[in-house]
C-alpha cells in the first residue's frame, strides 16, 4: 500500500532512502530444497524464497490453488487448511514452518469422501455464488461438524465467523450446514437402528 506515514509498508525509496544493495541480496536468500507433507504426499519445494507463505507455496509452487488469496492477513478464511488437523489460515503460516507437519488442503479433502456431502449441500442450497470463499468454507464446515456434529445455530455462526463471504449474506451457506447436519443425523440414526 502507499504509505501515509502512519503505516509501515512498501513505500517509494524517495521517502525512505533507497534500500541498500545488501538488503536486496538478503531478500533473495533461497532455501535449500525442502519438503512439505501435503495431502498425504511428500512434496519437494525447490529454490524457494524463505519468506514465502504456505499459501503462496501451495498455490504457486505445488499446483494447489484451491486455497484462496483474498486478504492474506488472516481475516477472511479463504485460505483455510488443516495443519496437523487444526484449521489455520495458510497465509499466516511461513511455508518452512510447516516442514514436518501434515498439511491438508481443500484438494486433499475433496479427494476423500469426507466432505462430499458438504460440497453437494453448498451447491444445492445455493451457498456458492462467485465461489472464492467456498473452499475455505468447505474446510471450516468440515472442521466444525467433525468436532461438533450437532452444533446449534449460534455455535455454527461463531465457528464460521472467521470466513468472509461477500456474495451470499451467509443464508444459503447456513442452510447447507443445517442440511448436512440433518442428513448425517438421519444416516447415523439409520446405521444405529
Amino acid at each position: 500500500m502507499p504509505p501515509d506515514g502512519d503505516h509501515v509498508g512498501a513505500g517509494p525509496a524517495a521517502e525512505r532512502g533507497a534500500p541498500a544493495a545488501g538488503a536486496e541480496a538478503e531478500a533473495y536468500v533461497q532455501a535449500d530444497r525442502y519438503e512439505l507433507h501435503v495431502n498425504g504426499s511428500r512434496m519437494a519445494v525447490e529454490d524457494a524464497w524463505l519468506g514465502e507463505s504456505l499459501l503462496f507455496v501451495l498455490r504457486e509452487r505445488l499446483g494447489l490453488p484451491g486455497s484462496k488469496n483474498a486478504c492474506e492477513q488472516g481475516e477472511c478464511g479463504s485460505c483455510s487448511i488443516l495443519l496437523d488437523g487444526v484449521v489455520v489460515c495458510s497465509c499466516l503460516v511461513l511455508a518452512v514452518d510447516a516442514i514436518g507437519s501434515a498439511v491438508e488442503t481443500v484438494e486433499g479433502l475433496s479427494a476423500t469422501a469426507e466432505v462430499a456431502d458438504i460440497q453437494a449441500a453448498l451447491v444445492d442450497a445455493g451457498g456458492v455464488q462467485c465461489g472464492f470463499c467456498t473452499p475455505g468454507f468447505v474446510v471450516a464446515v468440515h472442521d466444525l461438524l467433525r468436532r461438533s456434529p450437532d452444533a446449534g445455530e449460534m455455535e455454527v455462526r461463531e465457528a464460521l465467523s472467521g470466513n468472509l463471504c461477500r456474495c451470499t449474506g451467509y443464508g444459503r451457506i447456513l442452510e447447507a450446514v443445517r442440511s448436512v447436519q440433518r442428513s448425517r443425523a438421519r444416516a447415523a440414526g439409520a446405521g444405529g437402528s
Binding site: A13, A27, E75, C130, L164
Partner: protein, 778 residues
C-alpha cells in the same frame, strides 16, 4: 389498482422449497460451476499460471496531490530478477483511459491526484523481486494541498483540465413554487463503501506473435476493457484479445480498468507472460468505490399526508477521475424522491471531482445514497403528521401510469404497495430475551453490553432503481448459439456469450433458457471472450438476466424457426404447417414429428443475435425525459437491538418484499436478496473507507469491517412476481434492490430504538454513544 392483476406474492423460502422440478426457466436449477468451486478446482484469475511467467507489481503514490518532478527507474532495474519497469513515458498509445471519458492517466506523469495513483509498474521473476524493485524506484514529488471537500471543490481552481464539476443535473417538475401544509427538512450523509469482492484484481497477459496481446482477466465487461486497453496500447482492438478468467465477485468494482493496461504493457515489453495479483491493500487503492454523498432534503405534504413537493440537493464526491460518476448522479437525482407520487419537485445533483479516491459503480449505484435521504424524510414526515410510517408510504406509493419526477410515465409493473405490504406482513421476531447469551447481545463476543440497556427498534424503508442503462445509451447484448447432433445421440447446444459471470448465476440461467426454449438439456457454455462473439455489455445495473437473457432467448427463437424450416423442406410443406414442440418439430396436419436431433443430422445450426432494450431518451434541461427502460422496487423492515451507551448495534432481522418481475431461478434470487441485504446492512452499521485529508486510512479487512455470520441477521423474504411487459420472461433484475433500502431501514430502526436523529451512514459507535443523553452511572 391495475398493477395488482397477475401479481403473485410468495415467500422466497416456499419458492425455493418448491424444489427443482427440472432445469427449466422458473426452477431452482443448480450452478454448472458449483461443484468445481467447492473442490477448489475452478480457475479464478489469481490462479492462472504459465511457464516462464513473470510477476507484476505497481508503484503507487504515497501522496494525495503532488507534482512529479522526476522518476528514476534505474535502481529498480538493478534489482536481481527484474525484467522491465514501465511508466507514463512508455504508454504506446492514448495516455489516459476511462469508462465514459478517458480522463484518468494510465500512470501519473506530472500530476498525482489521489492517494495510491499508479506511478510505475515492474515485472520480475518473483513477486518479492517485483515488490523490492517497485520500492527502489526513486520518485521526487512536490506535494500540493489536496482538494478534499466536494463543496469547496465546486468553486475551487480546477485540479484537472476537465474541471471540478463532472455533472450538474437539475430536475424541475410540476410547480416548483408549490408548498405543503407540513414541511420537514434534513441533512444526511453517506460514507464511502467498498465492493470488497473477495477475489483480488488479477490477470495474466501473454504477448502474441502478431504483436498483440492476450489478456486473461477478471472483469465485468470484456469488450469495454478491450477498447480502453487497445487505445492505450496503440493497437487495433482485434489485436487485444480478452478472455474472462474466474471472477471472485465484482459488485461494480470491476467495471473500470485497474491493472489491465499495466499488465499488457509489461507483457509486451518483456515478451513474456506476466501475472499480477493485487494484495488486499492494493485492491482498496486499485478500484473505484461507492460515492460518499451529502444531501439536503425538504419534503412538503398536505395535512392528510399526500406528498406535495420534494426539494433536494445531492452532492456526490467522485474523487479524482470521472469513472461512471455522471450516471451515478443521474440515478441519485432521478430517484431522489423514492418510489412515491410526487407532483412537484426541485432537485439538484452535483458530481464533483476532488483529490479523494475515485468513485464509480457499486451495487445500487446512486439510488443507495438517495434512499438514505428520502426514507429518513418519510419517517420525519410521518412523525410530523402523526401517521404510521408504513401507511404514509402506502398512501403515496407509485402506481402504474403515475409519473416520476422526471416526467416519465410508468407503463410497466409498479407493485410498490405489494412490496411494502409483503415486507410488513412478516412476523416480527420475539422480543429481546433478558436471559439471552452474550453472543446474542450488541457487541457479541466483546461481552460489553448490559442486557438492561438494550433497546429494540424497528424501521422501514422502500426504494426504487432502474434496470440496465439509461439516458439514450444503446444498451445491447450479443449471443451466439450453435446446435449440433451430439455423437451420443443427443442434441448439444453451445452458447457463446461475453457475459461476465461474476457469481450472479448467469451461467445457470443460460442453461435454463436453452432448455426452456429448445428442449435441449445438454448445454455447453463456451468461454467468454472478445474473440468469438460481440459485446454482452456489463454485468452491472441488474441487467444481464434481461439483456443477455434476452439475446439468448432471441438466438433460441431464431434456431427454432430454422429447425421448422428444415422440417418443412423435408416434408415439402409450408413452414406455417409446422410447429416446434418439446424438442421436435410437429407437422400439424398429420401429427408427424421430426426430433431436433434428426433435423440437425445434415448440418449444425448456428446464429448470432443482438438484443437491444427499448430506446431511452436523454434528460432535458429540466431533467425531464423517458430516461429509463424499467424500474425495480423493494421494501425492507429492519429490527435491531441497540446498546446506546456503548453505541453498539446488533441486527436481529431483516424482512423484505421485492419486486422481481418473475423469479427465473428462486434459489439464485434468494441468494441475491440475502447477499444484497448483507451489503446494505454493512453500509448501515460497519462498512466505510475512512478517508482523511485524502488519505485512505483502513485499506485492509482488519480495518475495513465486513459482515460475518455473527453480524448477519435472519432474512425473511417475499418475492412479488408481476411480470414486466417488456422483459424476457417478464423478469426484472434482482441484484441491486436488496442493497438499496435495507440500510436505510436499519438506520430507521436505530432511530426508533434510540430516539437519536442518526443522519449518517454508516452509524459509528460514537455517533450513538456521544449523542446519548442518558448515561447510567449506577
Amino acid at each position: 389498482m391495475p398493477a395488482a392483476s397477475g401479481a403473485g406474492t410468495t415467500g422466497i423460502a416456499e419458492r425455493v422449497a418448491g424444489g427443482r422440478v427440472s432445469d427449466r426457466v422458473g426452477d431452482s436449477a443448480t450452478r454448472p460451476d458449483g461443484a468445481q468451486k467447492t473442490r477448489g478446482e475452478f480457475a479464478f484469475s489469481s490462479d492462472l499460471w504459465m511457464d516462464a511467467m513473470l510477476w507484476g507489481k505497481t508503484l503507487r503514490s504515497p501522496h494525495v496531490a503532488a507534482r512529479i518532478l522526476s522518476i528514476d527507474t534505474e535502481p529498480a532495474l538493478a534489482v536481481p530478477g527484474v525484467r522491465a519497469v514501465v511508466t507514463a513515458a512508455d504508454v504506446p498509445g492514448r495516455p489516459t483511459f476511462g469508462l465514459e471519458v478517458a480522463d484518468q492517466p494510465v500512470f501519473a506523469s506530472d500530476t498525482v491526484r489521489y492517494h495510491g495513483e499508479p506511478i510505475a509498474a515492474v515485472a520480475a521473476d518473483h513477486p518479492e523481486a517485483a515488490r523490492t524493485a517497485a520500492e527502489a524506484i526513486v520518485v521526487r514529488y512536490e506535494p500540493v494541498d489536496p482538494l478534499v471537500d466536494p463543496e469547496v471543490a465546486l468553486g475551487a481552481a480546477p485540479i484537472h483540465p476537465d474541471g471540478n464539476v463532472f455533472r450538474h443535473l437539475v430536475i424541475r417538475h410540476g410547480d416548483t413554487s408549490a408548498t405543503g401544509d407540513v414541511v420537514v427538512e434534513g441533512d444526511y450523509e453517506v460514507g464511502m463503501q467498498d465492493q470488497a469482492f473477495l477475489g483480488p484484481e488479477s490477470g495474466l497477459a501473454v504477448p502474441s506473435e502478431d504483436g498483440g496481446v492476450d489478456l486473461y482477466v477478471a472483469t465485468q465487461w470484456l469488450h469495454a476493457d478491450r477498447d480502453q486497453i487497445a487505445a492505450s496500447l496503440g493497437l487495433p482492438p482485434d489485436r487485444v484479445r480478452l478472455y474472462l478468467a474466474g471472477v471472485g465477485g465484482a459488485f461494480g468494482g470491476r467495471e473500470d480498468v485497474s491493472l489491465q493496461i499495466h499488465l499488457c504493457m509489461l507483457a509486451m515489453r518483456t515478451g513474456r507472460p506476466v501475472k499480477m495479483v493485487y494484495a488486499r491493500d492494493e485492491s482498496f487503492f486499485g478500484h473505484v468505490h461507492r460515492h460518499p454523498a451529502r444531501m439536503w432534503y425538504r419534503h412538503h405534504a398536505t395535512r392528510d399526508g399526500d406528498l406535495v413537493k420534494v426539494e433536494a440537493r445531492i452532492v456526490i464526491d467522485g474523487g479524482a477521475y470521472l469513472s461512471s460518476s455522471n450516471a451515478v448522479i443521474s440515478n441519485a437525482a432521478c430517484f431522489a424522491a423514492g418510489p412515491y407520487r410526487v407532483p412537484n419537485a426541485s432537485i439538484e445533483g452535483y458530481a464533483v471531482r476532488t483529490n479523494n479516491p475515485p468513485c464509480g459503480a457499486m451495487r445500487g449505484f446512486g439510488a443507495v445514497q438517495a434512499c438514505y435521504g428520502h426514507e429518513a424524510q418519510m419517517d420525519k414526515l410521518a412523525a410530523a403528521l402523526s401517521m404510521d410510517p408504513v401507511e404514509l408510504r402506502v398512501r403515496n406509493a407509485l402506481e402504474r401510469y403515475d409519473r416520476l419526477v422526471t416526467g416519465q410515465l410508468l407503463t410497466g409493473a409498479v407493485p410498490v404497495r405489494e412490496v411494502i405490504r409483503a415486507a410488513a406482513a412478516h412476523p416480527l421476531p420475539p422480543p429481546p430475551d433478558p436471559a439471552a447469551p452474550m453472543m446474542a447481545l450488541p457487541g457479541g463476543a466483546g461481552a460489553t453490553a448490559d442486557p438492561v440497556h438494550v433497546r429494540r427498534g424497528v424501521g422501514f424503508a422502500v426504494s426504487m432503481k432502474n434496470v440496465a442503462y439509461s439516458e439514450g445509451f444503446d444498451d445491447f447484448s450479443t449471443a451466439r448459439l450453435r446446435l449440433d447432433a451430439g455423437v451420443d445421440g443427443e442434441a448439444v447446444a453451445t452458447v457463446t456469450i461475453a457475459t461476465a459471470e461474476v457469481g450472479q448465476g448467469f451461467v445457470t440461467l443460460a442453461q435454463q433458457i436453452v432448455h426452456e426454449e429448445l428442449g435441449v438439456s445438454r448445454v455447453v457454455l463456451a468461454p467468454a471472450n472478445t474473440v468469438d462473439v460481440g459485446s454482452a455489455g456489463s454485468s452491472s445495473a441488474s441487467r444481464q438476466t434481461w439483456m443477455s437473457g434476452g439475446a439468448l432467448q432471441l438466438a433460441c427463437a431464431t434456431l427454432r424457426a430454422e429447425l421448422v424450416v428444415r422440417a418443412a423442406e423435408l416434408w415439402e410443406c409450408a413452414a406455417a404447417q409446422c410447429a416446434f414442440d418439446a424438442g421436435a418439430v410437429v407437422h400439424q396436419p398429420t401429427g408427424g414429428r421430426l426430433s431436433t436431433l434428426e433435423l440437425l443430422a445434415p448440418a449444425p445450426l448456428e446464429t448470432e443475435q443482438e438484443y437491444h432494450h427499448r430506446p431511452t431518451k436523454a434528460l432535458d434541461a429540466d431533467g425531464q425525459g423517458d430516461a429509463h427502460v424499467s424500474f425495480m422496487f423493494a421494501a425492507h423492515r429492519a429490527v435491531v437491538d441497540v446498546d446506546p451507551e456503548l453505541g453498539l448495534v446488533r441486527m436481529v432481522q431483516v424482512a423484505t418484499g421485492q419486486d422481481v418481475g418473475r423469479a427465473l431461478n428462486p434459489v439464485q434470487v434468494a441468494g441475491q436478496i440475502e447477499g444484497g441485504i448483507a451489503q446494505g446492512v454493512g453500509l448501515a452499521v460497519m462498512e466505510e473507507i475512512v478517508v482523511s485529508g485524502g488519505r485512505v486510512r483502513n485499506p485492509s479487512f482488519t480495518d475495513y469491517l465486513l459482515p460475518t455470520t455473527l453480524d448477519m441477521p435472519d432474512v425473511v423474504a417475499t418475492v412479488v412476481e408481476e411480470p414486466e411487459p417488456d422483459a424476457p420472461y417478464g423478469a426484472k433484475g434482482v441484484g441491486e434492490p436488496p442493497t438499496i433500502s435495507s440500510g436505510p431501514a436499519v438506520l430507521a430502526a436505530i432511530r426508533a430504538a434510540t430516539g437519536l436523529p442518526v443522519t449518517r451512514a454508516p452509524v459509528r459507535p460514537e455517533d450513538l454513544a456521544l449523542a446519548w443523553p442518558e448515561v447510567d452511572t449506577a
